[in-house]
């Protein structure tokens, strides 16, 4: 088996990627209680911040993917209208918005999963490290941009086989167990699951708890050293304890992979996102750093959504 490529920590000295300096955020957003915004009162502009942000912010963020004027339609219904935004390693991008706003479609366009739906068509451009993803092999693209789904979907195999799956199937000859063991352990460690399953990697994956299964799916996605990790509401089916574990995990991972997370849970976005994109009815209403979006959003609709006037 080919040795897996080393984790690519971009230093920002590559020629093509613009370097964006991101200032570390202030220690806490002021925690004002959610204003009287029910029943037609003027919504308050502050987002109710029940807990402090868990992210610390990194000092450099390297642009990995660029979405340019992307529009996706299913049949005749437009799902995403002319969206442009950057995706950077070193930060977590949260896509928020009410249901049906197109955030999941946008996410799935990033690894071309939308093509699997019949009747889907897209225009615009998405680039990965400067290369248009439409010109790549879909399988090659999806190994660099992996996805974790809302419902944990581990395969009906053992924990070890689940994580080793990608490594075995990508290689031209099936690697021996010893060859993949190191990579499997590392992926499980990065996903924070190694301690819990280390004593029995042959345990059937479907017998794990929901939170463990989701972390297994994350480990499985990480096993091939992807460059971008897409998460589609990964914690919506999980209990708060597992949610907290996965959020901590995401925060640790963003150094190595660019993370894009779709979430309808505003508190979660507040806790872990560095940048937030708010979408409504297929359009990108506003994009900005998390402090700005939650503290002082420019668009009124963003303000309304963030303060809970609609959802």
């Amino acid at each position: 088996m080919r040795k897996p490529p080393p984790v690519r920590r971009l230093t920002g000295n590559e020629g093509y990627a613009p370097r964006v300096e991101v200032a570390p955020p202030p220690s806490e957003v002021s925690a004002r209680t959610a204003g009287q915004n029910g029943n037609g009162h003027r919504p308050s502009s502050a987002f109710a911040a029940p807990s402090s942000r868990t992210t610390r912010g990194t000092s450099i963020a390297i642009e990995r993917m660029q979405v340019e004027e992307l529009s996706v339609t299913y049949g005749s219904k437009p799902a995403v209208k002319s969206v442009s935004l950057p995706i950077r390693q070193g930060e977590v991008l949260a896509l928020i918005g009410p249901s049906g706003c197109g955030k999941t479609t946008l996410l799935r366009s990033l690894n071309r999963l939308t093509e699997l739906t019949r009747g889907a068509s897209a225009s615009g451009r998405i680039t990965l490290d400067g290369v248009d993803i439409a010109s790549m092999e879909p399988t090659a693209l999806r190994r660099r941009v992996t996805m974790v789904f809302q419902q944990p979907n581990p395969f009906p195999m053992s924990v070890f086989d689940n994580v080793a799956y990608v490594l075995r199937e990508q290689a031209s000859r099936r690697p021996r167990r010893a060859a993949v063991r190191g990579a499997v352990h590392e992926a499980l460690a990065r996903a924070g699951l190694l301690d819990e399953v280390a004593d029995n990697l042959g345990h059937p994956a479907l017998r794990l708890s929901g939170g463990q299964q989701q972390r297994l799916c994350i480990a499985r996605a990480l096993a091939a050293y992807p460059e971008v990790l897409l998460l589609d509401e990964p914690c919506s089916a999980l209990d708060p304890q597992s949610t907290r574990l996965i959020e901590e995990l995401i925060t640790k991972l963003r150094e190595d992979v660019a993370v894009v997370i779709v979430t309808h849970n505003l508190q979660q976005a507040y806790r872990i996102a560095d940048y937030v994109a708010f979408m409504y009815l297929g359009e990108l209403v506003e994009y900005g750093s998390a402090q700005k979006m939650f503290g002082a959003p420019r668009q009124s609709r963003t303000r309304e959504y963030v303060s809970g006037a609609f959802g």
Binding site: E115, G124, A134
Partner: protein, 315 residues
């Protein structure tokens, strides 16, 4: 809006491993081969059946003769198929529902339940020749002589009753399996709701569960009927193989059912080149009719399933 660049379609296989491409190629090859063979079979029987099927064949009785024009039609065998089908399912359906209800709703003692499940499964896989042979012992016993004819003190053991009895065993596992599936698909909150208003288990079953499982019961019945009318071995051994009905006595219905006869399957076997009659043209015609019956049953199953899917959702 920028123009969309040339897109590699998601289905291009250029980068796949050789074994993957071979696998896909083999799937396509076998799939198309299967289409060709299936088309050949269907067209063959269609063409030959239409060529040889005349309306008068359906209403004349067969006669033992060696020429095509004199060997008659297959009225009695056709009626024979309908009779054994109806009789066999008349036994298999109530018994099958009863067994399925017991297994699904009651099921104690568990020892009996497990033995019952295993025996029904074993019955499903059992060759019908074995069932037929068993039938010959069973129905030649003097105690069961009333179900067939007795000549010179020797019980013949071949009659419609005997055939239907063994054929019901052929259809039984399908009715049981299908009904059980239908009952088990009903979520427990439906049962609990019924018990909560004080209904007994048996009343719940009769009034709530079975009506809800009706599509499954009907499907199982049609599948069972399909197996029953397709069987030849039991018919050969237990129906006597007389080309026309040979009634036991002059009582209108009982005489017929105690007597011997034939079914379409037996008739086809008889008229194949390997059989005594050797009238392939008649065999083709009968084949066509039998295939129409099987097709009708299949369409019936599809119809019931599609309707049931639209009707009920257990929210």
């Amino acid at each position: 809006m920028t123009a969309a660049p040339a897109r590699r379609p998601d289905r291009s296989t250029a980068s796949w491993r050789l074994s993957d491409r071979l696998g896909l190629g083999l799937a396509w090859l076998l799939g198309l081969l299967f289409c060709a063979i299936a088309a050949a079979i269907v067209i063959y029987f269609l063409v030959e059946g239409i060529r040889y099927l005349r309306p008068n064949l359906l209403v004349t009785n067969p006669a033992a003769a060696s020429s095509e024009s004199q060997s008659g039609g297959f009225l009695d065998p056709l009626l024979g198929t309908l009779i054994v089908g109806a009789m066999a399912m008349a036994i298999a359906v109530p018994v099958g529902i009863g067994i399925a209800v017991w297994l699904s709703e009651f099921g104690r003692p568990t020892g009996l339940a497990r033995v019952a499940e295993s025996s029904i499964e074993m019955l499903a896989g059992e060759p019908s020749v074995v069932l037929a042979l068993f039938g010959t012992i069973l129905f030649t016993a003097p105690a069961l002589g009333f179900l067939s004819q007795t000549t010179h003190g020797v019980v013949l053991g071949q009659s419609f009753f005997a055939t239907a009895a063994l054929l019901s065993l052929v259809g039984l596992p399908l009715v049981v399996a299908s009904t059980r599936e239908g009952l088990q698909a009903i979520p427990s909150h439906v049962r609990e709701a019924s018990y909560a208003v004080g209904k007994t288990k048996i009343a719940t079953t009769r009034r709530v569960l079975l009506p809800a499982a009706r599509p499954s019961v009907v499907t199982g019945t049609m599948l069972g009927l399909g197996r029953v009318i397709s069987d030849t071995a039991i018919v050969l051994l237990l129906l006597g193989g007389t080309l026309t009905f040979s009634t036991a006595n002059s009582t209108p219905v009982l005489g017929l059912l105690r007597g011997t006869g034939d079914t379409l399957t037996g008739y086809i076997y008889y008229n194949a080149p390997t059989g005594d009659g050797n009238q392939p043209s008649k065999a083709y015609a009968a084949t066509f009719v039998l295939l129409l019956m099987v097709l009708a049953l299949n369409l019936g199953v599809d119809f019931v399933l599609s309707r049931s899917r639209k009707a009920v959702t257990w929210r």
